[in-house]
């Protein structure tokens, strides 16, 4: 399902990533997962958090450039070729994946794949129609 994601612009300098994470921790805001895309000079930090709205206000107030986007969460079944099956279904829909990353909530549990599409609603409809894909809701994700 659609999950809210916070994207932060970071200068690639020591401490910048730490500052953002520390600020969230000090305010007891949990980070379910994060991913960092970076170049030599700057990076984009992507955060998945249950209390994303509070986190957004906090980060923006601290001077960060924050953007809210929506990603689609899909469960990757715990068997050989699980990821390949998903990518094959997406490939068949003709949807373009802007980027994706994966994480697992607990050791031994199925991994969750987070995908960013330019049009998340169209992507969801296409994935539902495609069949064989287990979408993950926010409640399941943070539960």
């Amino acid at each position: 399902m659609k999950i809210h994601q916070l994207s932060l612009f970071l200068e690639n300098k020591p401490g910048h990533l730490g500052n953002a994470v520390k600020l969230l921790a000090e305010n007891n805001l949990n980070i379910a997962t994060l991913s960092l895309a970076d170049t030599e000079q700057f990076g984009i930090l992507r955060l998945i958090m249950p209390e994303w709205e509070q986190a957004r206000q906090l980060l923006a107030g601290a001077g960060f450039v924050v953007k809210v986007t929506e990603v689609v969460a899909i469960e990757v079944s715990d068997r050989p070729g699980g990821l390949n099956d998903i990518l094959r279904v997406i490939g068949a829909t003709g949807l373009n994946i802007e980027y994706m990353y994966a994480f697992s909530k607990r050791r031994g549990e199925a991994a969750i794949l987070l995908l960013r599409f330019s049009d998340p609603d169209a992507a969801l409809a296409a994935l539902r129609a495609g069949g064989g894909i287990k979408l993950v809701t926010a409640a399941e994700m943070f539960g």
Binding site: Q5, S7, F9, L10, E11, H16, A37, T39, Q41, F42, I44, R46, G63, F64, V65, V66, K67, T69, E98, Y99, R116
Partner: protein, 439 residues
């Protein structure tokens, strides 16, 4: 837009004297300057080996010393006087953004000359004795107010001394008194236009037909906007308090550069590094010698203003060379791999990428090996931020490309978090030149 240009082509016949006559006047003027400047301690030593009769041709000017703003500051307040205090008719001061201002003084003749110089450019831009001229400069130490005030008076037009500030009241006066001409800085003209919009006053509601703008660096785009929003024929004028105030140069109706009043100000256009003349038509630092000033002679004053000169005859009949708009200031100019670059060019580029407002930026120049390397640090704005890496790279490339177009230099663009560049009080720091530190 009506252009009230009837009758007489020029205000003062001297404006059309032949170039030969002008050269003759200038040599005489230089002799007078050398003679008068020997009354000033600052110049006496510098002119020890030069007598007025040694000046025989225009090139002899090169034997005279330069004068800088710093020289004037060090001679604060009145050490540059060439006449006794009893001969002084007025004093003015330049705006001292850093430290003390510089004081300039005028004899009665200087004040008279000045009024005539202002009248010349006002007339050239269309002002006539039947007009009402609204002047939005205060009568203070700043030369703009008094200079234009007496210039309007010399033309014979009515003065509306609206002074500075309270824009709504200014708009009311412009409308109710039906002023024909507006005199102010170009940026204030835009403020007036904005207030008119707020008040629901259209350009056609005002009979205003002429605008005389100067006192700051502006662009042709600004001129187009002012003309459209105020319904005026806008001319540019140029002056410096150190030389006299407004009245050093001004545009005629053809608006292809500002005619320099060369019978009063001898102009040079020099390479600011070598202090040698640039080729005619190339940009350089303008350097002026005042030929007729009595109270405070000023020799080869380095204006730090960058402009180009054009000696081609003008259709209006005035023979004074024309200076281009001031392109920038030598203080701000960077020479990068031999190319002159001004922060304003970087700003233009950034506006093309970003739209409404230019983000904060810093131009950092270094020379790690033999070659200058420019890093343009740009603060990201929420509007510019995309969470896609490829779009961020595109933004960076676009900024670099636009700078290449505007300033003809390659730069490395670094995107920074907002608020990460230092803000100095009042003025943003735009340039950090590290090249000198490494020598």
């Amino acid at each position: 837009m009506n252009k009230p240009y009837p009758d007489a082509p020029v205000f003062d016949e001297d404006e059309t004297m032949s170039r030969d006559e002008l050269t003759f006047e200038q040599i005489n003027g230089l002799r007078r300057v050398v003679c008068n400047a020997k009354n000033v301690e600052f110049y006496r030593e510098k002119l020890r080996d030069l007598e007025p009769e040694d000046i025989k041709k225009p090139d002899d000017l090169w034997r005279l010393p330069f004068t800088t703003k710093e020289d004037l500051r060090q001679n604060y307040p009145l050490k540059m006087l060439a006449v006794g205090r009893d001969k002084i008719s007025r004093v003015h001061g330049s705006s001292g953004t850093t430290g003390k201002p510089t004081i300039v003084a005028y004899t009665e003749n200087d004040v008279d000359t000045w009024a005539n110089l202002c009248a010349r450019f006002l007339f050239a831009g269309g002002l006539r004795s039947s007009h009402f001229a609204h002047i939005a400069f205060g009568l203070g130490m700043f030369t703009g107010g008094f200079g234009l005030h007496f210039g309007i008076n010399r033309v014979g037009a009515a003065i509306v001394p609206a002074a500075a500030g309270n824009t709504r009241r200014q708009v009311m006066l412009l409308k109710d008194l039906a002023a024909d001409a507006l005199i102010c800085t170009p940026s204030y003209a835009l403020t007036i236009a904005e207030t008119m919009r707020e008040e629901g006053i259209a350009p056609d509601d005002l009979p205003l037909s002429l605008g005389f703008f100067g006192g700051e660096i502006w662009t042709e785009e600004m001129r187009a906007r002012i003309e459209k929003e105020l319904g005026v024929f806008a001319t540019n004028n140029y002056g410096l308090s150190e030389l006299i105030g407004p009245g050093v140069a001004g545009e005629c109706r053809y608006r292809c550069g500002m005619h320099i009043q060369e019978d009063h100000f001898l102009v040079e256009c020099l390479n600011p590094q070598t202090l040698k003349p640039v080729k005619i038509g190339e940009e350089g630092e303008l350097v002026f010698t005042a030929l007729t000033k009595e109270a405070m002679p000023i020799i080869r004053y380095r204006t730090r203003d960058i402009a180009a000169l054009n000696y081609a005859p003008c259709e209006c009949g005035r023979t004074g060379a024309r200076m281009s708009r001031v392109r920038g200031r030598t203080d701000d100019m960077l020479i990068i791999r031999g190319v002159n670059v001004y922060p304003s060019q970087i700003e233009e580029a950034m506006l093309r990428v970003s739209g409404a407002v230019s983000p904060h930026y810093l131009i950092e120049v270094d020379r790690p090996k033999q070659l200058d390397v420019v890093t343009l640090k740009v603060e990201l704005t929420p509007e510019n931020f995309s969470d896609r890496m490829d779009e961020m790279q595109t933004l960076r490339d676009r900024i670099a490309r636009e700078v290449q177009v505007s300033a003809q230099i390659g730069v490395n663009v670094e995107l920074l978090a907002p608020q990460s560049l230092e803000r100095a009080a009042g003025k943003a720091v735009r340039v950090l030149d590290k090249r000198n530190l490494n020598h």
